[in-house]
Structure formats: structure tokens, C-alpha cells
């Protein structure tokens, strides 16, 4: 077990002690947000969800909106893992572990959002198998809880095992490949389950559609690789990590065609809803045109969709795709941001209008809610930063067993 101990020590000393000024500035910033958020988290835990903007009309808040987004990225992380393992693309072989790290951290971040969403987080044990009580096989939330936690486990084992093996300079065991294949299959699964949690509600017209899983997966395919390209470009610039242009180009292609599929999916949904315009389309109408002067989401709807459709066409231009220093990161940042923005302003909040009693409502997040969201993101970014930093150290050989013992 001596090797394991030196691995842990080497890994974390590399993560915490070897960094540039910018790296530490980034850590200080994240810690500041994290600690500031502890205050509002305490407030929410002690006073209840009354401190956030949710109501009986709009009962889901920014936490769930962000959770769905984290599920996007977590599911899409398999797009970095699959090319190396399933299609034998050599340039992806080393990068796969970075994808698994993203999957692991984003699922953890999403579960953290769920805790903030719960009215009684102290009763979390009620959903723990053995001591709690699962409403199986009826509740879609139960499936989601199971697949998310299993995905977390699959990726955590995959990440730490391969990093450790690389650290001591050994090949991975024979079980590793099937394990990774399972993790790859599990990625879409978590996302389909998450979309079923929403689409199973017959009374929410905007969600109760068979295209929801397709919309989720295509948005995952756009936002996930967008973040991954940004991180790869950053790692390529600031570390000794070798990431080839062809790897980035493949990820760009994934973004483009995910956006292409998204256009088809949203187009089908909008057509089906709007042509006959029955009750099912009322939320969409509210989203597109407002209702009796309540039009908070109208500009968001048009801007977000214009940006996502526009990004598809802009990314088709070779100059943008190959603009690794400026155009590509800019476009990736835009796609990532607008898929995130889409969650509250198109997917979640407008879907609650009209309510079962015909009420139309706009959502106003509170300060506590904003800061708690920032707190969860800061915690998530911190884990990602630490994990990526350490992993790059291992992959580039800076963190190595022989080296430390020598």
C-alpha cells in the first residue's frame, strides 16, 4: 500500500503546490465564491426554500435548471472517451481520462444541485436503499437517482484506477475496457432518464413530448464538447499535454451536428405544437410571444434560438473551425453559455405557465438562490480544476512513482 500512499501524496502536492500565479488566483476566486455561498446555503437550510424564488406555480428553480445542464455535460463527456476506445483513434487514447473526469465532476455537481432542490435534505436517507424506501418501479426519479449514482461510481473508479496505474507505470487490467464500455453506454442513459423525469408529467405540455430525450442528447452533444474544446485548448497552451488538432476537429464536428440534430428536433416539436396549436402549445406560445403583457421570456427565447441556430452555420465555416486561437474558443464559449441559458428561460420556467388553474407566472430568483447556484458551480469548478491539474501531471509524467522515489 506504500505505492498508493505516495500516489495520493504526489497527486495532491502537485495539485496544490505546483501552479502559476494565475492558477492560484483562479483557486482563490473559486474559494471566495464557495465560502460566500456557505452563508446563503446555511440560510436556505435553516429557513427553508422560502428563501428562493420558487412558488407553488413554478415549483422548480434555478437549481434544477442547472442540474439538467450538468447532466448534459456529464453525458457528453463520453464523446471524448468513445473515439479512443470504440473507434481506436490514437489521439484520443490519453484524452479519454479527461472526459471521465468531466463526467465524474459534473455528475457530482449535479447531485449537489439536487440537494439544494430538496425541501428536506436532512431526510436524504429516505431514498437510500436498505434504510429508506424506493418507490420502485413507478417513480422516474428513483431511476434517475440510481443511474446518476452508478455513473458517478463508474467514472470515479475509472478515473482513479487509470491515473494510479499510469503513476506506477503499469498497464490497466483486462476488466478496464469493458468497464469503460459500460461507462460509455451509461452516459446517454443518465440523460434519457433525466429527460423522462420531465417528460413523464402529462400536465406540463412543453415537457410531455417524445422528442425531449433527443433534445437533451443533442444539447448535450453541443455543450459538452464545447466545454471540452475550451479545456483542451487551455491545457494545450498552459501545460505539456499533447492534444492534436485532429482531436479538436472531431469534437468540433460533434458540436456542429449536435446543433444540426437539435434544429430538427426543436423544429419538429415547434411544428407539431404550433400547427394545430392546442392546449399543448400554450407554454410555447407564452415563451414565444408572452401572455397579456407577461413577456419576460420572449427575448430570451428568440435570442437563444437565434444564437444556437447561428452557431451551427458559423461553425460550418472552415476559418472558424480552424481558428484555434480565437474563433473556435469564442464559438465554443457561446454555445456552452447559451445551452446553459436555455435551461431556465426556455426549458424550465415557461413550461409552468399556464398552471393547472390557468395562471401565467414569471420567475424571479432571489439573491440566496443566485449565490447558492454560484456556490455549487464554484465547488464543481474546484473539483474539476484539481482533477484536471492532477491528471495532466500524471499523463505528462510529471507525477510519477519512480520520480518521487528517486
Amino acid at each position: 500500500m506504500g505505492k498508493l500512499m505516495t500516489f495520493v501524496v504526489d497527486f495532491w502536492s502537485y495539485v496544490l503546490l505546483k501552479g502559476s500565479t494565475k492558477y492560484y488566483a483562479w483557486l482563490v476566486f473559486l474559494f471566495a465564491v464557495l465560502i460566500a455561498g456557505l452563508f446563503t446555503a446555511y440560510k436556505q437550510l435553516t429557513e427553508g426554500l422560502i428563501t428562493i424564488g420558487a412558488t407553488d406555480q413554478i415549483t422548480w428553480e434555478l437549481f434544477i435548471s442547472n442540474f439538467i445542464f450538468t447532466a448534459h455535460v456529464a453525458a457528453a463527456a463520453v464523446l471524448v472517451v468513445a473515439p479512443g476506445y470504440m473507434y481506436g483513434r490514437k489521439e484520443f487514447k490519453d484524452l479519454a481520462v479527461l472526459g471521465e473526469i468531466l463526467a465524474m465532476c459534473f455528475v457530482a455537481c449535479g447531485l449537489n444541485f439536487i440537494l439544494f432542490h430538496m425541501g428536506r435534505p436532512d431526510r436524504l436517507w429516505h431514498v437510500m436503499p436498505g434504510i429508506g424506501f424506493f418507490n420502485f418501479p413507478n417513480s422516474m426519479l428513483v431511476y434517475d437517482i440510481i443511474v446518476l449514482n452508478v455513473y458517478l461510481l463508474l467514472n470515479a473508479v475509472a478515473v482513479w484506477y487509470i491515473l494510479y496505474k499510469k503513476y506506477i507505470g503499469q498497464e490497466v487490467g483486462g476488466w478496464y475496457k469493458p468497464w469503460i464500455y459500460l461507462a460509455i453506454a451509461w452516459g446517454p442513459l443518465i440523460h434519457i432518464c433525466t429527460s423522462f423525469v420531465l417528460s413523464s408529467n402529462a400536465r406540463i405540455g412543453a415537457w410531455n413530448t417524445a422528442v425531449l430525450p433527443f433534445a437533451f442528447l443533442s444539447m448535450a452533444g453541443a455543450s459538452g464538447p464545447a466545454l471540452i474544446i475550451l479545456l483542451f485548448l487551455l491545457l494545450r497552451k498552459t501545460t505539456k499535454m499533447k492534444i492534436s488538432d485532429s482531436a479538436i476537429d472531431l469534437l468540433t464536428t460533434m458540436i456542429i451536428w449536435s446543433l444540426g440534430i437539435l434544429m430538427l428536433v426543436l423544429g419538429s416539436e415547434f411544428f407539431t405544437a404550433l400547427y394545430s396549436s392546442p392546449h399543448h402549445a400554450e407554454s410555447l406560445h407564452f415563451n414565444m410571444f408572452g401572455h397579456n403583457g407577461l413577456n419576460m421570456y420572449v427575448p430570451w427565447f428568440w435570442v437563444t434560438l437565434t444564437v444556437l441556430v447561428g452557431s451551427f452555420f458559423i461553425l460550418l465555416m472552415p476559418k472558424v473551425r480552424k481558428g484555434y486561437d480565437f474563433w473556435l474558443p469564442v464559438m465554443c464559449a457561446i454555445v456552452f453559455t447559451f445551452v446553459l441559458i436555455e435551461k431556465p428561460v426556455i426549458l424550465v420556467f415557461p413550461a409552468f405557465s399556464p398552471s393547472p388553474m390557468g395562471e401565467y407566472t414569471e420567475y424571479y430568483p432571489t439573491f440566496v438562490e443566485w449565490l447558492n447556484v454560484a456556490h455549487v458551480w464554484a465547488t464543481g469548478c474546484l473539483t474539476i480544476t484539481f482533477m484536471l491539474k492532477g491528471a495532466v501531471g500524471v499523463l505528462t509524467g510529471e507525477v510519477k512513482f519512480a520520480k518521487s522515489s528517486a
Binding site: I50, S139, M357
Partner: protein, 367 residues
């Protein structure tokens, strides 16, 4: 006919005590914030402001809600008789201390051979909302910040009132299409709701000195106690379930506050305790039932149970007793001689939002 039905709500407002009025003014800042959060019935707000937060002994201590033993208790339905007895004793002790009056938490079992059903005559309802406030008094709902009502009364516009020629933008002709008319009409102007049973044009927070309004009719909605309840299906921990009498219940101590049931319910019947419930001690109803009107805690769901604490003793629900026009009927659907069965057999009965296939045991009829 309509004179007989007219009921002055003003009287009820006038009954508010001076002390309560001062409390209301003191708490008005909080109350108006609550108005944005909860679903308050505005007309009732004046009357129920009588109840604006009165500090009570235990209420200031948030931990009073969950002692360790209570926190550790399992699903009540799965407990042994011994455990149930202990859980009830714990609750009675806590409520008695908190509200300063001897509180009974009953665990009376469901009567056998009974399927409860409710019928509401929409031609009689005058929209006075006595049922709403009768329910609040009986069932220990939070009175302020946030104010919780289990019954919501929709005020719906009567049919045809929007069909005057001056309201039609082209005197009965269709809107001109972007592509020209081609001389054949394809659409019309009468897009205004025509007073059907639906949520179009519904006003849920109406204020009125006098009801009923001559241009409206009223449509109260509460939990429909569905035979195929979507809320029960989605609950991840089966904290909500259907009892042998067909009533959908919630174990307030087992609910984790995920609000899936609120998403699933097509009737908007479920209410969440966003904050610590404010139930003034002097208004607390000490005669409670574990599954019914016992005081709730922060972060859990609640809803109408057809006054389970009453119906299990053979008494009618509080909303029925409060109704001044006899629009509400309640009874055993399995008893062929019951009033409700007679209504189902002889009146024009319908279920609200039948398209969701939830099979409610709450029926509406035109008497």
C-alpha cells in the same frame, strides 16, 4: 333566486379583531412578500390577515419540529403498532408544548367498505369562499408567509358576454391573411373564451364585496382524490399513497420535499411548505389525525384529504359544513342508497380534466 344566494363577505371582514388588525399592519411587509410566493386568495386575505403571525412558544425554535427520534422514524404505514403508538405520543407531546393546548393526534383506521366521493353543484356555487376558510380553520394550514389554501375557487366568465359586434375587429369577418383572402373565409374573430369549463380566462384571486358576480360563475377546485393518482406514481419514496377509502394521503414525516407530485398533479391541488408554517396557537385546531390536519413542518407537501380526521369518525368535511348554499355533497360511493350515488345516477355529472385519465372521485354536476 340570485338574491337568495347573494352573500355579503363584508361581514366576515368586519369580524376581524382590532388586535389582529394591528398584527396585520405590523406584519404587512412580510405578508406582501408572502403574497408573491404563495397562492393567496386576495379576497380572503383581509379576513385571514386576522391570523398574521403571532409568535408562539415553540415556533421560534426551528428544531422543535424534528426531534432526533422523530427524524429517525420510518414510513408510518410500515411501522409496528408499538412504533406507531410511540410516534403518536411524541407528536402529541410536541404539539401540546408548542401550541400550549392539549392536542390529540388520532390514528383512527379507515372504515371498511367505504369509498369516499365528493360532488359539487356548480350551478349553486356563489364563489363566497367560505369553504376555503372553513378548510383553513379545520386543517391547521399556515396562515401567513406563506398563506396556504387547499381549495382554490376559479371565477370563470359566463358564456357569450364577449360576443358584442364592437369587440369583433372586422365586424365578423376573419383576420386578413398575409397571403390574401382569396374570397373564402378560413377563420374567425371569436377567440375570446366562451365560458366553458376550463381555465381560460379564470380569475383565481378575485376580490369582491358581494358575490356572485352576475357575469361569472365559480368553480372550486381541491384535491380530486384520483383513483389513478399521478402524484402517487411519481413520489420517489412513496410518502404519498392511496388509502383503503380512496383518499390520497401524505406522510408529512416521510416526504423529502422533491415536489415531483406537484409537477404531476393536473389539478394544482398540492401545496408546499416553502417556509416554517405560521399557525397561531389560538387558532390551532387541537383535534388532529396523523394523516390529516396535524400541523406540518417546513419543506413538506400537503393537500386536501376530504378532512380525513372528520370522515373517519363519520362527520362530513369542513368545506361541506361551511358551504352556505348546499353546493357540496359527500358520501360513500359503495353505498347504492347514498346521496352521492343518487347524484351520479340522476344529474349531469362530469369530471374536471378527464383527458388526463386520473379518474377523480371529485365530481361536478349541474343540479
Amino acid at each position: 333566486m340570485s338574491e337568495k344566494k347573494s352573500i355579503e363577505i363584508k361581514k366576515e371582514v368586519g369580524a376581524v379583531s382590532e388586535q389582529a388588525r394591528r398584527d396585520f399592519l405590523k406584519n404587512i411587509g412580510v405578508a406582501s412578500a408572502a403574497a408573491m410566493v404563495a397562492a393567496p386568495a386576495v379576497a380572503g386575505a383581509a379576513a385571514s390577515s386576522a391570523v398574521a403571525a403571532v409568535p408562539t412558544a415553540g415556533a421560534s425554535n426551528p428544531d422543535a419540529d424534528s426531534t432526533v427520534a422523530e427524524w429517525l422514524q420510518g414510513h408510518f404505514q410500515l411501522m409496528t403498532e408499538e412504533e406507531k403508538k410511540k410516534a403518536i405520543e411524541r407528536l402529541e407531546k410536541r404539539y401540546t408544548a408548542k401550541y400550549g393546548k392539549k392536542t390529540v393526534v388520532s390514528n383512527a383506521p379507515a372504515p371498511e367498505g367505504v369509498l369516499f366521493g365528493y360532488a359539487l353543484d356548480i350551478s349553486k356555487c356563489v364563489g363566497c369562499r367560505r369553504c376555503v376558510h372553513g378548510c383553513v380553520r379545520e386543517n391547521n394550514q399556515s396562515r401567513s408567509n406563506t398563506e396556504i389554501h387547499w381549495i382554490q375557487v376559479m371565477k370563470l366568465p359566463k358564456g357569450n358576454f364577449a360576443f358584442s359586434p364592437d369587440k369583433m375587429d372586422k365586424k365578423g369577418f376573419p383576420e386578413t391573411s398575409w397571403f390574401g383572402d382569396h374570397g373564402v373565409q378560413i377563420g374567425g374573430n371569436a377567440y375570446t373564451p366562451v365560458g366553458g369549463i376550463g381555465t381560460h380566462g379564470a380569475e383565481n384571486y378575485y376580490e369582491a364585496d358581494l358575490v356572485p358576480d352576475k357575469d361569472s360563475f365559480y368553480f372550486p377546485v381541491q384535491c380530486h382524490q384520483c383513483e389513478k393518482p399521478p402524484c402517487v406514481k411519481v413520489c420517489p419514496v412513496r410518502a404519498t399513497f392511496r388509502d383503503p377509502n380512496g383518499i390520497v394521503l401524505i406522510d408529512y414525516n416521510w416526504c423529502i420535499g422533491c415536489r415531483m407530485c406537484q409537477l404531476a398533479c393536473p389539478y394544482g391541488a398540492r401545496r408546499f411548505n416553502w417556509g416554517e408554517p405560521n399557525l397561531p396557537a389560538e387558532e390551532m385546531n387541537p383535534k388532529t389525525h396523523y394523516w390529516g390536519n396535524r400541523p406540518r413542518m417546513r419543506g413538506v407537501m400537503e393537500k386536501c384529504t376530504f378532512c380525513l380526521q372528520r370522515t373517519r369518525e363519520g362527520r362530513p368535511p369542513a368545506c361541506l359544513e361551511a358551504c352556505p348554499v348546499g353546493a357540496r355533497k359527500f358520501g360513500n360511493l359503495l353505498d347504492p342508497d347514498s346521496e352521492i350515488r343518487k347524484i351520479l345516477a340522476t344529474k349531469r355529472v362530469f369530471r374536471f380534466k378527464e383527458e388526463f385519465s386520473t379518474y377523480p372521485k371529485f365530481f361536478y354536476y349541474v343540479g
